[in-house]
């Protein structure tokens, strides 16, 4: 197996992109990544495209071929990866494997979702497809509903409070104000979160990540030739993934995403680091409770302790550990297929020292954590500067 | 003859008070309550219909009879609010009680007496030994046009009776049954219409009273029974007043009809009405006692039954919650707007 590095990263502005369809979003992020890697379209050997529900959102399947086509990657193999909200992270892992294996040198991993061309109830239904269609969606359970069930139990078992949940959204919005790609560049207060409209008790509107349009892309290359393309390649130290039951109620615990815990354990083993070595982490905060559980399942806090830590500011920018400096899914936006790749882009910028006003001081080791469904898939990556 | 092996009743938990309906139409609640002898009526949940009510009643009956769904040789569901115009309620019930596929099933409609018509049909099958056990259900989520007099009474509920032919099973023996039938346009609903229409005061004398007394007198004539031979009597109860009046006309006393008079507290459950009344009466009846039941269905007809309670009744007594206990214990009041929403009269666009 070869060591793999990220040599280029690109993003488009997330949000309600009324003027842009799938093609425009993909092209914007893709070209930025190619320029960053100083390569031409013809240098790319393989493409992995992550998208969750382009068929439902845009009536468009066959998205990897479309991506290759639109970016001028003539006749190369391209494969779409669908793993619900973990499609982007899963695509990144496939790209990593194909470079590490020696089959391809230059691989582009893209992620995209164009969600605002359908009504919000249609989007809700489409996202519901990440759960068990027959036994969750049929019963009228929504995605906020599933995370609300986890939140309620977490609050019951560990004394986590609605203020602690709200603190996640407040922190991530604060970070998003410093990110020009973010959907929401607006600070909010705990009180505003608590007073926002209830969606699925105890979760309120401002506990939920938004419906977004967006795309992200990274370029991968073998580490040993990475410097030919980029002065500060970022080494992928670990790329791990785990699954759990599709149906939430069937899991061993409602207050832990076991797939996250397993993927993280393996990632720490592969990268030969531990949670305390991580300087910057992008976690999957589709709902505020998800970030609290992620902080615990990734090993940053013991079970039941993350909520208090967030409330006390331990996870804010340049505090004990900087979490979701991009603004996370909550502040930056959550175009589902793009999210996992966007997380990698943010960590690349942080480790290069390019994150400007939201730069984490002395960031050396970074992590991304991407979840599909209510925790049926978790993908974890660990990165380190390689210059 | 065939007898009752088990029974079960179900009434939705929601209630609306006469006062809350009267307020909307600026009517005098006190005079309505007195005039119709009704205090409140049951309201189905948004997720309830004649099929779900029939299933809940059927499950209780199976439990009461201590039988399995597969023991049923027939399932007949009488209702005037079958959820489908075409697609039987009876198959839903049979599936939900795990009756298997080897059974007869059909939906019946005869206004408020479709359920008792089902009892007679099952009796025929049992007595002819075509089946061992069969189930007859009366279940309705009845409709009353907003503002109409029926709105104060039209409610939801149902009861299921399992009949069998072996003495050792029976909690009550049906010793005789007759019907009295004529073409009388007192109340009707055309295909596709949301609400029934009725002939106003015409529904009383030529409808309800003529048929109930006709069937009951025919039963007396054929059996030699007289009102005092019965410990209890149950009449169809479209409101709380008609059954009291018809009982008096026929020579029954108030104490005979009281245990089965449910309409004042649950409203008129249509196909369920006389059957829930019978279930409630069986809850208190003792071995050896006699019950007379006369149902009524508009259009019009009445079925009359002479029933004799057996000693088996006490052994099964505690297997299900008594009807009056269910009705008084499980209830929650709704106001008129929630009532409209539950009925599907107001929806989000």
């Amino acid at each position: 197996m070869r060591d793999v590095a990220i040599i280029g990263a690109g993003l488009c502005k997330f949000g309600e992109r009324w003027n842009s369809g799938l093609k425009e979003l993909m092209a914007e992020a893709g070209i930025m990544a190619l320029e960053d890697a100083h390569i031409s379209s013809h240098d790319v050997e393989m493409l992995y495209g992550g998208t969750m529900a382009s068929g439902r959102f845009s009536g468009q399947e066959h998205v990897a071929a479309l991506m290759a086509d639109q970016l001028g990657f003539k006749n190369i193999p391209a494969v779409r990866i669908e793993n619900a909200c973990a499609s982007g992270g899963s695509a990144l892992r496939q790209g990593y494997i194909s470079v590490a294996s020696g089959i391809h040198d230059i691989v582009v991993v893209g992620g995209v979702e164009k969600m605002t061309d359908v009504t919000s109830s249609e989007a809700t239904t489409a996202l519901g497809g990440a759960g068990d269609q027959e036994w969750e969606l049929f019963q009228g359970i929504t995605f906020p509903g599933l995370y609300a069930l986890m939140a309620r139990r977490h609050m019951h078992d560990y004394g986590t409070t609605e203020e602690m949940l709200a603190a996640v959204a407040v922190k991530n919005h604060e970070n998003a104000t410093k990110n020009r790609f973010a959907q929401f560049r607006k600070s909010i207060t705990i009180d505003e979160v608590l007073r926002s409209k209830k969606v699925a008790d105890p979760l309120k509107l401002l506990d939920c990540s938004p419906i977004s349009d967006g795309a992200a892309a990274v370029v991968l290359a073998p580490l040993d030739i990475a410097k030919k393309y980029n002065d500060t390649p970022i080494k992928v130290m670990a790329s791990t993934q785990a699954t759990d039951t599709l149906r939430l109620a069937e899991r061993d615990s409602l207050t832990e995403v076991k797939a996250t815990r397993i993927a993280a354990q393996k990632a720490y083993e592969h990268a030969k680091v531990s949670a305390k070595d991580i300087d910057v982490v992008e976690v999957h905060d589709c709902f505020t409770i998800a970030e609290i559980m992620a902080m615990e399942d990734l090993g940053f806090y013991p079970k039941g302790k993350a909520g208090k830590a967030v409330l006390e500011g331990e996870t804010a920018l340049n505090s004990k550990i900087s979490v979701n400096t991009s603004g996370g899914l909550k502040g930056c936006g959550h175009p589902v297929g793009a999210t996992g790749v966007k997380q990698a882009v943010e960590v690349v910028w942080q480790l290069r020292g390019d994150a400007k006003e939201r730069q984490v001081d002395g960031a050396e080791v970074g992590m991304t954590h991407n979840v599909g469904g209510s925790g049926s898939t978790a993908v974890v990556h660990i990165y380190k500067r390689a210059d | 003859m065939a007898g009752i092996v088990g029974y079960g009743a179900y009434v939705p938990i929601y209630r609306i008070k006469v006062e809350d309906i009267a307020k909307v139409w600026s009517e005098d609640a006190e005079s309505i309550k007195k005039g119709l002898n009704i205090r409140e009526k049951s309201v189905p949940g948004r997720d309830e219909d004649a099929a779900t009510i029939a299933v809940e009643a059927a499950r209780r009956a199976i439990q009461h009879a201590d039988l399995e769904g597969t023991d049923m040789g027939a399932v007949y569901v009488g209702s005037e609010s079958h959820p489908y115009a075409v697609k039987p309620t009876a198959t839903v019930v049979a599936q939900a009680i795990e009756a298997g596929s080897r059974l007869m099933a059909a939906d019946l409609e005869f206004a408020c007496k479709a359920g008792t018509a089902g009892i007679q049909m099952v009796m025929g099958l049992v007595d002819s030994k075509m089946i061992k056990y069969g189930m007859a259900i009366g279940s309705d989520t009845s409709q009353g046009r907003p503002g109409d007099a029926l709105e104060y009474t039209a409610s939801a509920g149902g009861a299921a009776f399992i009949l069998g032919g072996e003495k050792k099973d029976m909690i009550a023996n049906i010793t005789h049954t007759v019907s009295y039938t004529s073409d009388t346009p007192d109340f009707w609903r055309r295909e596709g219409a949301s609400f029934p229409s009725h002939g106003g005061r015409f529904t009383g004398e030529p409808g309800y009273f003529r048929h109930i007394t006709g069937a009951t007198k025919l039963l007396f004539e054929q059996t030699g029974f007289k009102p005092s031979d019965f410990d209890y009597a149950v009449f169809h109860q479209p409101n709380g007043k008609f059954p009291i009046n018809v009982a008096a006309q026929l020579g029954f006393e108030m104490r005979q009809i009281e245990p089965g008079l449910m309409t004042p507290i649950i409203g008129n459950t249509y196909s369920g009405a006389s059957m829930i009344g019978l279930a409630s009466t069986l809850d208190v009846a003792r071995p050896g006692q006699r019950i007379m039941v006369t149902s009524f269905g508009s259009g019009a007809g009445s079925d009359s039954f002479a029933i004799e309670v057996t000693e088996n009744i006490d052994a099964k007594r505690d297997r299900i919650e008594p009807v009056r206990e269910m009705v008084s214990k499980h209830k929650t009041y709704v106001d008129y707007s929630v009532y409209l929403k539950n009925r599907g009269s107001i929806t989000k666009t």
Partner: protein, 131 residues
């Protein structure tokens, strides 16, 4: 008509009556049914099992922003129910005036789940009633 009727029809037994299954190899009960036992994999030996319908609320929420199929039902309670035989299942909790809480005992009831427009099918299923 949103879906082919067969896609819902094939689950009728489970939905009407909580018919799950059990692995005879390791005695693990499942609701809803699994084709393959999670513990035994290819060695699993599945047989049907009727669940009692009794259980208790393990967690719950109030869904206020529903999918289109439930737009007229919202808000409604959803619970994770621990069935007395062990498995946990998501389901509607009927609003009967008893506020659901973690630990509230519930019992299965037969209800309409949703109605496919004015002319489509009516889908029935279990729901849970707080006791």
């Amino acid at each position: 008509m949103e879906r082919a009727s067969a896609s819902l029809w094939r689950k009728i037994r489970s939905r009407y009556n909580l018919v799950g299954n059990e692995c005879q190899n390791c005695n693990t009960p499942y609701f809803p049914q699994r084709v393959v036992c999670r513990k035994c994999g290819r060695n699993s030996k599945m047989v049907e099992k009727q669940f009692s319908g009794n259980g208790e609320i393990y967690s719950f929420t109030t869904v206020r922003v529903p999918p289109d199929t439930f737009k007229d039902e919202a808000p409604y309670f959803i619970g994770v129910i621990r069935l007395e035989e062990g498995p946990m299942v998501e389901g509607h909790v009927i609003d009967n005036g008893i506020a659901p809480k973690i630990g509230t005992k519930v019992r299965m009831q037969f209800r309409k789940m949703y109605v496919d427009g004015q002319e489509g099918l009516i889908y029935y299923s279990f729901k849970f009633e707080p006791l």
